[in-house]
Structure formats: C-alpha cells, structure tokens
Subunit: 272 residues, 2 copies
C-alpha cells in the first residue's frame, strides 16, 4: 500500500488504530476450540468486529510460529482473511546479512503479501536494504521499543552524548524514505518520542505499548503526531481479549470503537 | 546438549566445524528436483557426507521460511534427519519483548528441539532471557557480525570509548553463563575478535564468514581460541556447494574433510 493511501484512510476514518492479532490459542474465548482452527476463527471474528474502527492490522508471528509449520499455515489462513483495504503489518522483527534478509523479504512481501514488516537494526544497512527495494512495501525498523530492555542498548550514550536509538534513526533516514521506511517507537518512552519525531519528522511511527504495557495515547500524540498524523498506534490484548465470554466479538468491537473515538477527538483537536 | 558434551566432541573429533545448511532451491545440484523435496534430499546427502567431519549443523531459517508453511515443513523434515549426536543450531536471529520471545523459544527449543538459536540483542535483557531458561539449550547472541553493516551500529563508540558490541557482550555475560549463552562473532572482524574473547573468555563463539565472506580460519583462531577451543566455525556455501554436478556429495565430503583437517592441525598446535 502506498503511504498516501494509508494517510487518506486515516483522514477518512478519523482513526490511526492498528489492531494487533497477538492471538493466543491458550486464551481463546468461550465457544471456540482451543486449537489452530479456533485461532483462525477467532481472528475472523475479531477482524469483522474491528475493521471499521481501524486502519491497520499487525500479526505477531511468534504466536503462530510457536507451532512450527502448522502455526505458519494458520498465519497464512489469517493473512487470507485480512482485508486488503487495511495496512497489513507482519511483526516478525527479522534481519540478517543481505542475501538472507532478501529471503525474509520474499516471504513477507511476496509469499504473504504484507504491506510492512518489522525489522531489527543491529546488523546495519545491508541487513535492512532488501526490505526497502519493494514498491509500496515498508520496513518498520526498531527505534526505541516499549519494553524494559529498551534501556540496555537503545539508550546507551554514544561519544557525542546521543543515544543509540537516535543513531539508528539518523542513519536509517538516509537509507529509506517515508515512502518505504517507518520506525517502531514504544508508547512508554515519553519525551524520547519527541526526540525521535525531531530526527524523523515525516516518517510514520508504529507505536506499541499503549494499554497493557502502560503507555498512554494522549502522551504519545503530544510527543509524536505530525501533519499526516504519522502514527499507527497498536492495541493488541486490550482489544482482542476485551472479553473471554461468548460475547467477545461485541466486546472487542466496542473496545476498538472506544479507542478509535478517542483518536478521532485527538485528530479533530490537532487539525483545528 | 550440555556444553561439556560439545567440548568432548570437539576433542574427540579434532574439529570445531559447523556446517551451515543455507540450502537454496535455486542452487540444487544436478540430479535433484528443484523444489522443497529436492531441498530435503540435498540436506540428507550433505549431512551424510559431512557428519564425520563436523560437530555442529546450522540451519538458516530464511532459506526455508521464504516459502511460508511449506518451507517450514521442509525445515521440520530437515530437523528430523539431523543427527542428535551433533550440536544443532537454528540461525533465525529472533528477539522480541519477553512474552513474545518465549514463544520463539517454544518453537525452536521445544517444537523443533534445536540445541541453540541465534538471537538479536537490540531489545535488551527481557527479549533474551526467555531463551536462557532451558536446561542444555543455548542462546547465541549477535555480538559482532561478519557483514559490512556491522560497522553501522555495532562499532558505534559509547561515551567511554567502547564500541556497542563490547557493551552487548559485557552486559550479556551477566544474564547468562557459558552453559547457556554464546555469541556470534564474525570471521571478518580481525582484532575485534580478541576484544570479544577478552570480555567473554569462557563463552563459545559461533563464527560465520570464513570463506565466501572473506574471513580466514587461522586469523580467527589466533584471536579467539580458548582452552576449550571455544569456537564453532561455520562454513555454508564453501561446503554445500562444493560442486553443482552429480558428484556433489563426494565434493562436499572432501571439502568438509579438508577444512576439518586444517582445524585438527590448529588444535594440535594449540594443545602442544
């Protein structure tokens, strides 16, 4: 999907919500079989319930890969029911030397036809470039993540006083453009988000960590909105596990609408 | 596999060779069908040809994942024919927030029963710990890699003058022990390998980059051997593509024996 189409959708729908399908066989609600068939049925129900309230879906590949090839089959089935109207992200955090990364790109951009893939930066430019060579596809590079471990290396100060995540953004914006490169910036990172936005004013940020991990939507927006909104804020557990009872679909729909409405208010206040 | 068993094998066999199954459907030799069945047959032939000359096998998951679930099926079939006498490495470079990493660990350590998995460090401690909680399993953390992109972030100097890869090793040795944690240190990194060895004297290093990528076995050994040898030196393309003709199995066996003999000489000189 072209970036311009994503921006249009955000403006049309007045939401920048990404629903995360971290769907876990062990946590399926009442009424569904606790196996991979049940998982795909669950995803179908969640997609139906949330599609009008979001512009993107994010699949966490580990939740499928856990079961090996049969989990990958469920991932493929889920991809087949994801609506191509939406911006579709594989959250797989891949990255390897050039010729190997190019096969991960084949998998996620060709075989599975996702719009975007999360990518780890540690191995540098040649590990990332294979993901930047596809028209209308997007590498989403880890910048500053939402987890406690983000303090270990991402915040290590370089000799000029800047932190590693700043170095990653500074270098990477010369490798890709806002058309093919986004960054993961965690909702829990407060003022670091402002710094990321200053370095990459036009790039979209995928923002995990709102809700369960303690991040706050308004704080994120205060630090990182840009003229195109520039954010895809992800919610996984808060929406998909809104209820574990038979009414889970209605509960997820309501929760997604609620988050989306808050986003609408933010967009309207921002554009005034 | 326990570390002590790996060390015993290295001493018994007088080799520290790891054969990398970066097996590529597009490069299968004459006489094999160019599909996933051919790929598994190729792996079977390479394993037969090399098992006496190596102590470890490394599977590059991207070469299988490229085909989605059917590629993963070929990966599972290949795992089933890998000999459990050998140290078995999944080179997948995974890593995510804690609960997600734990599912990658489930996949590679339980479902596929590999002995070790390569792991990316950028997300810090909680992204790595799930791989350290298994008896006789090993996380192999990226330290300093063999590719050109290693210069981008791994060699960024921190405010105390040390490079990022040194920071990664320094922190990680407190998270795991030589019993459950190894490091990837690329053969092309010359004197940086000495520095890595100084920081982590007792940890094993998985060393890619000998051969095709330009690294040299003797240079690696000069910088990074320890009392237990402490190295698994990987060769992929140099061995598995030793010939593209019908005699590929014989050619691969010869090449593996040759590399292994060079290792034997190094071990014998070292122990004198």
């Amino acid at each position: 999907m072209k970036l311009s189409r994503l921006v249009e959708q955000i403006k049309e729908k007045q939401t920048f919500l990404c629903v995360g399908l971290d769907s876990d066989v062990d946590r399926l609600p009442e009424g569904l079989s606790r196996d991979l068939d049940g998982l795909v049925e669950f995803n179908r129900a969640i997609i139906e319930a949330t599609r009008d309230s979001c512009v993107a879906y994010k699949i966490n590949t580990a939740f499928y890969e856990r079961y090996g090839s049969s989990g990958w089959k469920a991932l493929e089935k889920t991809r087949a029911i994801l609506p191509n109207t939406h911006f579709l992200i594989a959250d797989a955090k891949r990255g390897d030397i050039g010729n190997t990364s190019s096969y991960y790109a084949t998998c996620f951009f060709e075989h599975l036809d996702f719009d975007a893939l999360t990518v780890a930066p540690y191995m540098g430019r040649d590990s990332i470039e294979p993901f930047l060579g596809y028209a209308d596809k997007h590498a989403i590079l880890l910048g500053i993540t939402s987890n406690p471990g983000s303090a270990d290396f991402q915040k290590t100060r370089a000799e000029d006083g800047e932190m590693m995540f700043e170095k990653v953004l500074q270098k990477a914006i010369h490798w890709g453009s806002p058309e093919n490169l986004m960054f993961v910036c965690g909702a829990t990172q407060g003022a670091h988000l402002s710094r990321a936005r200053k370095i990459a004013p036009a790039h979209f940020f995928l923002v995990p960590g709102v809700g369960y991990q303690g991040g706050d939507l308004r704080t994120v927006c205060k630090h990182a909105l840009n003229n195109n909104i520039g954010l895809l804020v992800n919610s996984s557990r808060g929406i998909i596990y809104a209820s574990s009872a038979k009414d889970f679909q209605r509960a997820s729909a309501e929760k997604a609408r609620e988050v989306s409405l808050e986003m609408k208010k933010i967009i309207q206040n921002t554009l005034i």
